[in-house]
């Protein structure tokens, strides 16, 4: 009897720990990577930033089931906002992040009000069109954005007034990992909240959710704005770490890559975003390093193998292995 209640309380404690657990795993993994690859910190930082970006996409595609091909819109706005703020207003990195988040949320709200009324292919196309409009605007508004040359020479003051951004990129890496952990915890809490459950319901069947009284459209706009803010943070981080923002931040291929990474990892489970980004970017990096001309073969075959062998993404690999082992007597 006491044993059983103990177990329940342990499980309850585990349940309370659940949002912290992924953060723990990420920090341990990041620490190991930091020690093992001290000369690849710039690349690792890029992966971490991409993870934040893909996580934000998981909120809208994986949880709410909204497929877009224009997620770069929010990333790019965040990047430009952070760049402009640090060039003209304040060089504190956290203020830059805030500006990125606000810019991402704002553009998500404006575009979301239009595109979330559409569905399927129309939604995909409107999201692409929005990103294209932003890219053209950024390339035309030369007085503000530097046009095709982009914003260069973005410098940020020491983090929290203490940690100077160094040449090797140690501070940048730790800074990005901290932001990733914060975003991850936030997403875990969001996913298990009533709001997160409503999103899953909308993904399953929007009409039934409407029937039980959920304001589907409003929920979608809300999650789109939240995801936009996080994507804006990712863009702001990229701007601060590299010191550059160009009109490539609005590239269609960036939106497509994000979708590919998420599906490779497995949509709708936050870990999937992390695993997919890591695997995709590492395979990409190694293949391009070995053969700069034919690496696309590797990526192409990888995508086909994954989609045929693991339709639910890499994250389902352990489940599939267990199922295979169980089937054998």
């Amino acid at each position: 009897m006491t044993n059983a209640t103990d177990q329940v309380s342990i499980r309850r404690k585990m349940g309370r720990l659940a949002p912290v657990l992924p953060a723990l795993i990420v920090s341990v993994a990041a620490a190991i990577a930091f020690i093992l690859f001290p000369y690849d910190l710039a690349f690792l930082t890029r992966i971490v930033i991409m993870m934040i970006f893909v996580l934000s996409f998981d909120l809208i595609l994986g949880y709410a089931g909204i497929a877009t091909l224009g997620h770069a819109a929010m990333y790019g706005c965040g990047a430009y906002a952070a760049g402009l703020v640090s060039l003209h207003l304040a060089s504190d990195p956290l203020i830059g992040l805030l500006a990125g988040a606000v810019a991402g949320a704002l553009i998500a709200w404006i575009s979301g009000c239009v595109l979330l009324r559409a569905q399927g292919v129309a939604l995909l196309m409107i999201s692409i069109a929005v990103t294209m409009v932003l890219q053209e605007t950024a390339s035309q508004a030369r007085w503000l954005t530097g046009g095709a040359d982009g914003l260069a020479g973005i410098t940020v003051s020491p983090l929290l007034g203490m940690f100077e951004f160094d040449f090797v990129g140690q501070v940048a890496f730790v800074y990005s990992v901290c932001i990733l952990i914060a975003v991850l915890i936030f997403c875990c809490i969001l996913a298990s909240s009533p709001f997160g459950l409503a999103l899953r319901g909308i993904e399953g069947s929007a009409s039934r959710m409407r029937a039980i009284g959920t304001p589907v459209y409003r929920r979608k706009v809300t999650v789109y704005v939240i995801a936009g803010a996080i994507a804006g943070i990712a863009g702001a981080l990229a701007a601060q770490v590299t010191g550059l923002v160009g009109i490539e931040v609005f590239n269609f291929s960036l939106s497509a890559d994000v979708m590919v990474m998420l599906i490779v990892g497995g949509a709708g489970r936050l870990y999937g975003a992390l695993v997919g980004t890591l695997v995709f970017m590492v395979v990409h990096h190694i293949a391009a390093g070995i053969d700069p001309f034919n690496w696309l073969f590797v990526i192409g075959f990888m995508l086909l193998i994954i989609v045929f062998a693991l339709p639910k993404g890499l994250i389902s690999l352990p489940d599939r292995l267990v199922a295979l082992l169980r089937r054998k007597p």
Binding site: L61, A67, V114, L115, R117, A118, Q119, G120, V121, A122, L123, L124, M125, I126, I128, A129, V130, M132, V133, E136, T137, Q140, F252, S253, A256, M259, V260, I263, V264, A267, F293, N294, W295, L296, F297, I299, G300, F301, M302, L303, L304, I306, V307, F308, P311
Partner: protein, 287 residues
Amino acid sequence: MSIIFSIVVDGVAYGMILFMISVGLSITMGLMRIINLAHGGFALLGGAAVHVLSVRLGVPFWIASFTAVIIVIVLALVLERLLYRHIYGFGELGQVLATIGIVFLMIATVNLFLGSTILSLGAPQSLTAAVDLGFKTLPLHRVIVILAGFIIMASLWLLMEKTRFGIYLRAAVDNKVAAASLGINTPRVFLAAFAIGAGLAAFGGILGAELLPIEAYYPLRYMVLFLIVVSVGGLGSIPGSFAASLGLGILDTAGRYLLPGTGTIFFFLAITALLALRPQGLMGKAQ
């Protein structure tokens, strides 16, 4: 006056190219409900095959083009049987991933054998010569493209309206399950539609090489353009694709002539507005 004429001619020629390449995509998206991001790859492969045949092997351009279209059709038949048949069953996201994988493989193949520079198709000099129409001179290329576009539209219309295959295809687009239960061999209809679409894409890619140059990253570079034509026209609607191609071709060309710089912004704003008001496209079925 002369600038309006140039805009119309260039816009219509551009629209015809868009139509030839994207009509197959529209049919496959309407029929199989598959988002085939690899469709532009067939145009690339057609152009690459012409490059190999005419520039490297010295085959006359028109014979090379004909052979290339046949090669692409055969390739599409094989791909449909081996890969696409399974991809139809995936969810939307799986389809996107699988077809992007196929695009990457197509790009990598062309890149491996022919490099990533723009591929010349070895079109004869006479194509760029001017033709006197009595009131105006035009490059022969534009005349051929516009004529080919109308001929293809007309033959597709005949195929869809006047043949048994057309009846099967329209039935399958309307309701796949009901068509199958009436004894229509839908897998074979799919196969034929897919191959015709791929062949037209190859033909459009070859004819349009002057406007949309053939190079390894072609399918990714113009993917958005083809998807826009399909969604604006309405999935599965051939007249819709035709109208959308011409409209977008003229709009885009006019933007480039009259508003260099900001033209593209208006182009995409117009598309956004149109799709926001009519999500099913110009002539698509309301879902």
